[in-house]
Structures are given as C-alpha cells and as structure tokens.
C-alpha cells in the first residue's frame, strides 16, 4: 500500500494523514521483521526458559571458540543465526536420561549449521572420573523406529559444564527436514542422575548452534 502508484515509494506515504502514516509504517515494520525471520506470524511464547537458564546459556555460548572468518563477499549479505535450544525431559530410568531438543521449521533446509554444541552440567555426588555415554538419536519419519546418529563418551572428572560437538547431527536433522533431536545419556546406575536431578534451572542442558543462510549459487565467468 505504501509503494502504490507510479511515483516514488515514499510519495504515497507522504500523502497520508499522520495517523494513517504511522499505522502504515508500523504495519510495514512488523511485516518486514516477520518476513526476514521467515515467520508467518509472531511466535506465541508458551514456555520461555527461566532467566537463570537463559543467562547461564548465553554466558556459556559466548565463551566458545570463534568461527573461521567468512569471505567478505559472503558475509555482507549472508544472514547468520545463533540458536539456544533448551532440553525437554523425555523418558528416563535409573542411569538413563532422554532429552529432546526441538528446532523450528523456519530454520530448516535453507540454513547451514556452522557449529553446534551440547552443554551438560555434571553435578557429581562422588569424586573420581565418571563416564557418560552420549547417544544422538533421530526418530524415523516413517515409523516408531529411532536411528542412532552418533555415540560418544564424556569423561566427567569434577562438577561443572561439559560440552560436546553435535554439529553434524544438527545439520543432518535440518537437511532431512526433521525438527527434533533426541539425546540419550547413560551413566552408571548407582550414581543416580547427576545430569538432571536436583539441579537448578540455571544448569539445564542446552544446545547452542551457529548457522547461516545457505550461500546462493554463484555464477563464474571465464
């Protein structure tokens, strides 16, 4: 509506009464932001993470190693994203915990994952080195089966945060149009659940990912 007519884009805006102009600009601002974020409508935030979890995650994520430089030609127009996804608890049994991470479709096939790390806080009740088996699982789209994408071991020596690279798993998730990543953690049964039980919100597990829009196809002239 703003750019209608044959004149310049701002001409029809100038012709509007101040109130209508303000409404038009607000509508334009909303539409631009949603469109650039690939959202059909504003998200309704039903279960925001606690302030403690958010601050801890931002603090941990900001201390990661920097990404390699992007060529200037790409970086100027390539939109980048940093995503923090907090775990939802799944089924658990003594010594075994399942965590689910959900990613929205808007950040799906069109983005390239540059880096993704899973952060876990270990509140060990006993001293010594403990091994945690970390399995990254993806549910099959066609049925109830679950595919194991990777299996790694973490050695926890003292209480604190540990991180694990899950970049390939998250990229594979996005490439296949899936939205949910499942992580299964296994510890020795007699330890209880030092990864979740009794922990404050600020120690809640999360995945921190960095991504960017896929580079457009480039045509080379010879």
């Amino acid at each position: 509506a703003v750019s209608g007519g044959t004149g310049c884009p701002a001409c029809s805006l100038a012709a509007l009464a101040p109130g209508a102009r303000r409404d038009a600009l607000l509508a334009l601002a909303k539409r631009n932001i949603l469109s650039e974020l690939r959202l059909q409508e504003r998200p309704s935030v039903s279960r925001p993470p606690s302030r403690g979890a958010l601050l801890a995650a931002l603090s941990r994520a900001s201390t990661r190693r920097p990404l390699p430089d992007t060529p200037p030609a790409l970086s100027s127009r390539t939109q980048r994203y940093q995503v923090l996804s907090f775990a939802e608890s799944g089924s658990s049994s003594p010594g075994r915990i399942r965590l689910h991470f959900r990613f929205t479709q808007e950040l799906g096939r069109s983005i390239e994952v540059l880096q993704a790390s899973l952060y876990l806080f270990w509140a060990s009740p006993s001293p010594g080195t403990h091994q945690v088996t970390v399995k990254v699982l993806q549910p099959d789209l066609s049925g109830p089966n679950i595919t194991m994408v990777s299996k790694t071991w973490l050695e926890m020596q003292r209480a604190g945060w540990a991180s694990l690279d899950v970049g390939e798993a998250v990229q594979s998730l996005f490439s296949n149009g899936r939205q949910r990543l499942t992580v299964e953690l296994e510890t020795a049964e007699d330890l209880g659940s030092p990864l979740l039980a009794g922990q404050s919100d600020s120690h809640w597990p999360f995945v921190a990912a960095q991504a960017r829009d896929r580079a457009p196809h480039r045509v080379q002239r010879r």
């Binding site: 004149g7 310049c8 884009p9 701002a10 805006l13 100038a14 600009l25 607000l26 334009l28 601002a29 909303k30 631009n32 932001i33 650039e36 974020l37 959202l39 504003r42 998200p43 309704s44 935030v45 039903s46 279960r47 925001p48 993470p49 958010l54 995650a57 931002l58 100027s76 127009r77 939109q79 980048r80 994203y81 940093q82 995503v83 923090l84 996804s85 907090f86 959900r102 990613f103 929205t104 808007e106 950040l107 939205q179």
Partner: protein, 114 residues
Amino acid sequence: GIDCTGDSRMCCRKEFFVDFKEIGWEDWIIQPEGYHMNYCAGLCPLHMAGIPGLAASFHTAVLNLIKASNADAAVDSCCVPTQRRPLSLLYYDRDSNIVKTDIPDMIVDACGCT
C-alpha cells in the same frame, strides 16, 4: 545525509521508532526494546538526481541541472535510502528457543536522490 527538520521539504531522513512494548511484541523479542526503522521523504528535483544528501559536489548538481534542462523527457528522481545497517534481534522462536540474528539493511541511516 540530512535529517528532516520542521521546515525541510527536500529529501531527508525521518526518524521513526517502533517500540516493541507498544505493539505488544516485548514478550517474544528479548532485545532490543525497539526498532529505529526511519524512512526517507521529501522532494527530489531533477537537478538533485544522484546526490546523496548535501555532501555531493556542487558541480554534479550543476551538470545535472544542465542535463535536466536539455532532457526531452523528464525522469523521476526519488528520495531513497542510500545507507542502511542491520538490525540485531534476540528473540524466542515458536519452540521457545533463543535466536540471535542480524537482519541486514533494516535501519535507514541516510537518504538521497536517485
């Protein structure tokens, strides 16, 4: 670029701030508190074509004026953004994940005539 003042009729940058609280978006956009959108408005006489604000050369204006006087068909010149910068947003997405991104070219910093 020139910022619009009360009596300005020539091409200039008008400031326009979108307060996220005012439009009810403060629950999903964590930072910033608003968007300095800004926009361009004002007249662009033909001899001002190609002039990004007052910083342009006087000679360019004179040459354009001569060209305009000699032109058989006038070509419209528009007041448009000549300099823009990204808007950084920290927000909750549909799944309550936290996303930080820089949307390019969202904030109008300067205006000029095409």
